[in-house]
Symmetry: C2
DNA sequence: TGTACATCAGTGAACGCGCGTTCACTGATGTAC
DNA sequence: TGTACATCAGTGAACGCGCGTTCACTGATGTAC
């Protein structure tokens, strides 16, 4: 990815990747356009050939994150088929796996403060991501007797919240907020207990 | 709280309160020492009579947050006694109520990136806060048959994670991440289903 | 194959800005006598 | 009650810094003929 002469070749993507590295290392606000340009081996002014400015670069990083996120969730969902339960659990696991594997993207998406409604493309892909989890929840809710069935969008929100909470509180290296349990186990058992509460897993297993 | 002449009177606390207002309004990194000083009607240099610097001021805001947080949780816990279940549910509700009522403190505590181990006092009060929730979980776990009882610290972590996730994803005004349900309901139902999964609430109610 | 030219990605210098922090200072306050 | 003095909270000017952004430019690339 080194620059090859006066013209870089693929500066746009190199900038996004530098931004992701910086966001991961220094937090969403520690990221600077100047530093990203430097890491890409380029003058800060060059950034403006490809992005409108600092915010626009972060938004693109987030957009790419949602793209990967949606794929990962979609893949997990399909892999769990035809069992609605397996598909649902797989998407939960995929959430945490994504946060772990793409921390820069995750931060750009959920902690950078950029609105998901910033651009139509960003809004669209974020909606698609949410839709995957909601579909998994919808499938699963078919197995609950209608009269005691909560709205699917509600329990997909529960799972999303627990997953996000586990990531933020226990999967980051923020010292002092560590739990004695690996985040993966924490989420797995948490979702397990929750699904038992919905009557979707027999109480004795 | 206006300054009264050359000497302010209670500048230290005025700075903390200005910082909280700014953190709430502009995010953890949008906060600047200079602006906080200005809001307190004072030169930036005056801040250094009371704090070591910018980080130290944020840490104090977080410390005060933990202080309130602990009290709120403790009060909720006691109010729910002698029912372990009522006490536990009350602490869950208190978590969200705190996040709503003291958003500046909440952000300083959980989103500012300052480590809880920064100072001994901060570490101590944070530990106390965690202990309240864990005690509530411990009480509750007595009602679960020992052989199927998960560690109390585990399910206090589950509840903490879900609460935090609800706050971050649904209780902030970040446009686009809204859910169709009020955060309070979301957390209430989520905890309800979870506790049912633990066998602590009868499945038909 | 070679030359002229249009295109455009990246340069480098400059800008104005607000930041956190320092320093010698000064004005207000409170206390000793 | 009045004066001298120590204390110390806040001033104001200055610093060096890195930021995001602009601008006229220049060097590389690709295309037409």
């Amino acid at each position: 990815m080194a620059k090859r002469g006066y013209h870089h070749g693929n500066l746009r993507q190199a900038l996004v990747e530098a931004a992701l590295r910086l966001i991961e290392a220094r937090g969403p606000m520690g990221f600077t356009l100047t530093e990203a340009a430097k890491q890409a081996g380029v003058t800060p002014a060059a950034v403006y050939r490809h992005f409108e400015g600092r915010e626009d670069l972060i938004a693109e990083a987030a957009r790419q994150g949602y793209e990967i996120f949606t794929d990962v969730m979609q893949f997990a969902y399909e892999k769990g088929q035809p069992s609605a339960l397996a598909a649902f659990e797989a998407t939960g696991r995929a959430y945490l796996a994504f946060a772990r594997k793409y921390p820069g993207h995750y931060i750009a998406m959920f902690e950078s403060g950029i609105s998901v409604n910033r651009t139509p493309e960003l809004a669209a892909i974020a909606t698609r991501a949410r839709a995957v989890l909601e579909r998994a929840a919808e499938d699963l809710s078919q197995h609950i007797p209608p009269e005691k069935r909560p709205p699917a969008s509600m329990f997909s929100a529960h799972i999303w919240a627990m997953s996000h909470g586990v990531v933020e509180l226990f999967a980051r290296n923020s010292p002092g907020t560590q739990s004695p349990f690996p985040p993966e186990d924490l989420l797995e058992t948490g979702i397990g207990i929750y699904l038992r509460g919905l009557g979707l897993i027999p109480p004795d297993e």
